[in-house]
């Protein structure tokens, strides 16, 4: 079981799911039409490290964060 959390302006509670890779996470999130709209502009962190590879293998207890477009300063 892994946990997916949504940061900043995405109004969505965390989701727990079974997933082997980030690809599985992508498939699951795209099922939700509201979330799907965010995905093309969101970056992804795994356990607070930014990641850039869908093939990464997930393990039990992993935390995936979805980071929408930013504007600090």
């Amino acid at each position: 079981m892994i946990k997916v959390e949504f940061l900043g302006p995405i109004a969505q509670a965390p989701i727990e799911m079974e997933a082997e890779t980030l690809e599985d996470v992508s498939v699951r999130l795209k099922e939700d039409r509201t979330l799907a709209q965010w995905l093309d502009k969101c970056a992804v962190a795994l356990n607070d490290t930014m990641v850039n590879d869908l093939k990464i293998v997930l393990k039990d207890g992993d935390r995936v964060s979805i980071l929408p477009p930013v504007c600090g300063g």
Binding site: P69, G72, G73
Partner: protein, 144 residues
């Protein structure tokens, strides 16, 4: 790196950083202050920050600076910051002026593009995500 609830005390932070480095034999100290402009009828801007990823981002910049003999510092506000108050302060200390001038530019631009901070306009007490001014981070779209 320091995060503060509400507006920054710009003078205090600028002076404290100066005191912290008084013995580091720097030649150039460049600071960048970001202040909320009155525009588009806003009362304030408001900020969410995801601190674990921000800390990692900042740590990497500290390492990069260290390799060039420089030091970077940063402060940012959490929550609401009224117009004409400051929400962001960053600085580079370096023995060499060119290093400092180039680093403050690269640091501030990378901050704008990749620091996990979300901005909201505050109008009539309501928070509205500033989507038009926000930038997808490096690597965005991975799950699309």
């Amino acid at each position: 790196m320091d995060l503060y609830k509400g507006p920054l005390d710009t003078k205090e932070i600028f002076g404290r950083w100066l005191d912290e480095e008084v013995r580091s034999n720097y030649g150039a100290y460049i600071s960048f202050v970001g202040t909320i402009r009155a525009e588009d009828g806003i009362e304030a801007l408001s900020f969410d920050i995801y601190e674990p990823v921000l800390q990692t981002w900042f740590d990497r910049w500290q390492e990069k600076a260290k390799k060039l003999g420089a030091i970077v510092k940063m402060a940012h506000s959490l929550g609401d910051v009224p117009v004409h108050k400051s929400s962001y302060l960053s600085a580079v200390f370096s023995p060499k002026r060119r290093v400092a001038l180039e680093m403050i530019d690269a640091f501030v631009e990378d901050f704008k593009a990749n620091a996990p901070i979300w901005k909201y306009d505050v109008k009539k007490g309501k928070r509205i995500y500033a989507s038009d001014r926000s930038t997808p981070m490096d690597g965005a779209g991975l799950l699309a």
